[in-house]
């Protein structure tokens, strides 16, 4: 057994446990700063992860766990997201009554779950990784115990999460019951025998429903706006970026490693789900006034765009998903950093809280504007190139199935609709009817650095996409079925 393969995960878990222990000895007024230590630790692990670049793919625990370029791509993605989320949590600490060090360690444990998800090659590990993420998020969403909205978010997340876990575990049971296998590769080997076995297909369908909860995609998308709105800001950011990406890596592995033949037969289903998700997210976002709620719906819409890449059933499509997630990470984290800082100054999360932001802090205004422009898919930022890749991948399949043309049409419609609410946010920053408060918003150095990283990421990915595209292409090669 090669334990070095899971050394990154082990390091993350040790870091989480270490934080919990450190909490016992550190004086209360010092505890807030523990977050920086956690971020530093995660940063070191991220640095260490580059030692694994170029190492040939390998698996451990009877093929349950794989470490390949795809897993590494996502693990670095999660580590990077966690660093920024931890920095955000330190700035948010003032709003959390007690147990800030538990908050940090829960983020680390959620991170561990995501890292296992990136490497999961087995239905059992898939389930365990997802539950590790979901259960920590039950606590993270309701961490502001004194705030009703936060508690409400926690309960909603719990109920819908439990329901989708039920679907997931039932689906896994059906698949295991029919095939007797849990490992993706072994399922793939026998899947052709069960191609018409309805119980097996139902099992796969149930697993997909369970996963759609993580993606915030139709049919289990309803929780997203409420939970995004109610949760503490760092939780929402991690939910939007990390949790969604974990869902996608699992979806990619399941669909293209375990049941590629069924995936090809079901492409119409994937297309329709993508279309519904895009339309639902974008249309519902239009009338929203709460900033975090806008992101809840935008997150649904983005899950729809990402599903386009999955539905395209091609290497180009899967690489586009990876690239798009990269751009999405920087745009969303930049936006939540700004929201966090603005909300520290102004009570309320209404979009009008942004009034006059360009005078209160030009940096924050510029960062939020760039984030919106990127999410709206306007060049030269990352979001545009991501959408370009996704749409190209879908169009390339149009010759096979005309439904892809419809998908592309819906995606364009979604992009145009989304401009109205993303620009609504920009409008609120630069000109608003309400007389704005004009006190300057202080931006602590470390948050400023985090913002710069996000901005640089958006511009770098948009202007010089080549490196990441190559990385993504290399990563999805392990899923090569066609």
């Amino acid at each position: 057994m090669n334990y070095s393969l899971i050394s990154l995960e082990i390091a993350v878990v040790i870091l989480g446990l270490g934080l919990l222990l450190a909490d016992l000895w550190i004086r209360p007024e010092q505890k807030t700063r523990l977050g920086y230590l956690a971020a530093l630790g995660v940063g070191l692990i991220l640095f260490w992860s580059f030692k694994f670049s170029g190492v040939p793919s390998a698996s451990a625990f009877n093929g349950m766990f794989v470490l390949d370029p795809l897993a590494l791509y996502f693990q670095r993605f999660f580590l990077l997201a966690a660093i920024i989320v931890l920095i955000m949590s330190v700035a948010f600490a003032g709003r959390i009554a007690t147990g800030i060090s538990e908050y940090y360690s829960l983020i680390i444990f959620a991170l561990a779950g995501m890292m296992f998800a990136a490497s999961a090659n087995d239905l059992a590990l898939l389930f365990v990784a997802l539950e590790l993420i979901t259960v920590t998020f039950y606590v993270l969403t309701s961490f502001q115990r004194a705030r009703l909205a936060s508690l409400e978010a926690g309960v909603k997340y719990l109920i819908i999460g439990a329901l989708s876990s039920a679907f997931l575990v039932y689906g896994i049971a059906l698949v295991f019951g029919t095939t007797g296998q849990l490992n993706f590769n072994r399922i793939a080997a026998v899947a052709s025998e069960f191609a018409d076995n309805r119980v097996f297909l139902l099992g796969i369908l149930f697993i997909l429903v369970g996963l759609s909860f993580k993606l915030a995609a139709f049919p289990a998308h309803l929780w997203a706006p409420d939970v995004y709105q109610g949760s503490p800001v760092p939780t929402t950011a991690f939910l939007a970026v990390g949790s969604k990406a974990a869902g996608f890596v699992l979806l990619l592995r399941l669909l293209f490693t375990a049941v590629p033949a069924i995936t090809e037969r079901w492409n119409d289903l994937l297309i329709v789900v993508a279309m519904v998700t895009i339309l639902y997210g974008n249309l519902c976002a239009i009338p929203q006034r709460n900033l975090k709620r806008i992101f809840g719906y935008s997150s649904i819409a983005n899950a729809g765009y990402l599903l386009m890449g999955v539905a395209a059933l091609s290497g180009a499509g899967r690489a586009a998903v990876l690239y798009y997630l990269g751009g999405y990470l920087f745009a969303v984290l930049a936006a939540f950093l700004v929201i966090l800082l603005v909300m520290n100054e102004v009570e309320g999360e209404d979009i009008s809280a942004l009034a006059g932001l360009n005078q209160r802090s030009p940096l924050l205004a510029a960062a939020l504007t760039c984030s919106m422009v990127s999410l709206a898919g306007i060049p030269p930022l990352a979001g545009f190139f991501g959408k370009f890749l996704l749409i190209k991948a879908a169009l390339e399949q149009g010759a096979i199935d005309p439904l892809y043309y419809w998908l592309v049409g819906v995606a364009f419609l979604g992009v145009i609709i989304s401009i109205s609410y993303y620009f609504g946010v920009i409008r609120a920053i630069y000109w608003s009817k309400e007389p704005p408060v004009l006190s300057a918003i202080p931006v602590p150095l470390i948050l400023r650095l985090a913002l710069y990283v996000c901005l640089a990421g958006m511009f770098y990915l948009g202007l010089f996409p080549n490196t990441v595209v190559e990385l993504a292409n290399a990563a999805v090669k392990v899923l090569a079925v066609r």
């Binding site: 545009f384 370009f388 992009v415 595209v469």
Partner: protein, 494 residues
């Protein structure tokens, strides 16, 4: 060297960002120097340019090799003409916005970013790059109108942004479809234009891409953003909007839509010519009844841009050359008209209502403005000796062989054009006040030097091109001999 028009504008943006806020004079200075340098680079390149050598590569490096996307700048006579126009409009626009004090630094940052994007579009021969520059020009426009605009600015800005984005989404659909059909190997316009796209694709992709671009050129019935956008925009922005941004649309329609899909062009050219002619006549008729000074000019832009589109779809060298010349000519004249309306008149009288202006007898109060506007009005009407005449005449000659009926209708449009131009000239400047004007109470500030300079620059250009159109025609004409336009001129017959 032409590539430096783009870089110098971006450098200007950077330099402005580093300036301390609140120093409006320095911001103006940096912006003016940048724009002048861009203009000079364009001018020098134009003199040294050999249009008969076709499309000349300026720089080319792999950008995203995996997808066959290059950073590919090149130029032919059409590009050079429009680069010159952009430089001219940029300089004049800055001269006409010399009085901007409110957030001047930001104003010029957006202004130069817009200019950089426009230069980029005119010089890109990689479709992806072209599209990126095209979009880059939209965002600053939105900010310019929404922050520094006047009447109904939020509505105007949002409407303009939405129309632009819908247009560019349509363009992108067609471009990606062409790219994927040709095997996802290259975005090089010159290569893709030689690819025999199947007729079915051309027949849907051509109208989608053409209209996507033409929305920005103010093609009827997708023009409605133009009058509201122009009216809402601050002077310099409306000069740029009418002067160069509308040309982006026409340029894209010519350079991309027509060359990529010549068969689709052959199928749809009649319908497009019809829309263009409706635009010419409709814009002129609506301009005839407007009460707002700026709306008159806004609708006149719709009418004049109709000539550009009509010229493009004639598919003969005379008409298409005329269309490009009309782009240049209208850019200069519309810039001048908007400069007079927005800066010389509105900033002083704070009204654009024609009956109110009629009572002010501005020819006495602002003789320079009246003189400038009179010249601009004559140029706009298409009087011989001004650039508009040479351009519209060429378009009509070209159109006569292709669409005789439409040509007659376009002629009607010119007559109505004379009517609304004279009407607005008379009402705005040479009104008959029923009672003596209380002039002493509110003496209008005199016309400043930068305004005079800007006006003289634009008037000189329109007269120069009017008297000697060969200067530009010798640049534009040979460009249509390049293989890029081969299929276009043959009406799609391969």
């Amino acid at each position: 060297m032409l590539a430096w028009t783009v870089y110098i504008s971006f450098l200007g943006v950077l330099a402005l960002m580093l300036l301390p806020a609140g120093n409006a004079r320095a911001a103006r200075g940096v912006a003016l120097v940048t724009a002048l340098l861009g203009f000079l680079i364009g001018l020098v390149s134009a003199f040294g340019f050999a249009p008969e050598r076709g499309i000349q590569t300026i720089t080319r490096t792999a950008w995203i090799p995996g997808l066959g996307i290059d950073y590919y700048l090149a130029a032919d006579g059409i590009s050079v003409t429009l680069v010159l126009l952009t430089g001219l409009a940029a300089v004049a626009g800055i001269l006409f916005s010399w009085n901007i004090e409110h957030r001047a630094k930001e104003f010029f940052v957006f202004y130069l970013a817009l200019i950089a994007g426009v230069y980029g579009v005119f010089l890109s021969f990689d479709l992806f790059l072209l599209f990126v520059f095209y979009e880059l020009a939209i965002i600053p426009k939105y900010f310019l109108i929404a922050i520094w605009g006047s009447t109904n600015r939020e509505y105007g800005a949002m409407k303009l942004a939405l129309y632009s984005f819908i247009g560019s989404a349509m363009v992108l659909v067609g471009l990606v479809a062409a790219y994927v059909t040709a095997g996802s190997k290259t975005m090089d316009l010159l290569v893709l234009a030689q690819y025999p796209f199947p007729p079915a694709l051309q027949n849907w992709a051509f109208p989608v891409v053409f209209i996507g671009f033409a929305i920005l050129a103010g093609l009827w019935p997708f023009h409605t953003w133009a009058p509201t956008g122009h009216v809402a925009a601050p002077t310099a922005a409306s000069m740029l909007l009418a002067g160069v941004v509308m040309k982006l649309g026409a340029y894209g329609a010519l350079r991309v839509a027509m060359t990529l899909f010549p068969l689709g062009l052959a199928t749809w050219r009649n319908e497009i010519a019809l829309l263009a002619v409706i635009g010419i006549v409709y814009g002129a008729l609506v301009a005839l009844v407007q009460k707002d000074f700026k709306f008159v000019i806004g609708y006149s832009s719709v009418s004049h841009m109709g000539f550009v589109i009509l010229g493009l779809v004639t598919l003969n060298t005379i008409g298409m050359t005329g269309a490009v010349l009309q782009m240049f000519s209208h850019g200069v004249i519309a810039g001048l008209l908007f400069g007079v309306v927005g800066r010389m008149v509105y900033d002083r009288t704070h009204t654009r209502d024609l009956p109110e202006l009629e009572a002010m007898r501005l020819n006495k109060a602002l003789p320079f403005a009246a003189g400038t506007f009179a010249v601009a009005a004559f140029a706009s009407m298409g009087l011989p000796g001004f650039s508009g005449f040479a351009a519209e005449l060429q378009v009509l000659i070209g159109a006569w062989s292709a669409f005789p009926t439409y040509t007659v209708l376009a002629g009607v449009g010119i007559v109505v054009g004379v009517a609304y131009t004279l009407r607005v000239l008379q009402m705005a400047f040479f009104g008959e006040a029923p009672e003596p004007v209380p002039e002493a109470a509110h003496p209008l500030p005199p016309i400043t030097l930068p305004e005079r300079l800007g006006a003289v620059l634009l008037i000189a250009t329109t007269v120069l091109i009017g008297l000697c159109p060969r200067l530009l025609l010798s640049l534009i004409g040979p460009s249509f001999q390049s293989p890029l336009f081969e299929h276009v001129l043959k009406g799609g017959n391969l």
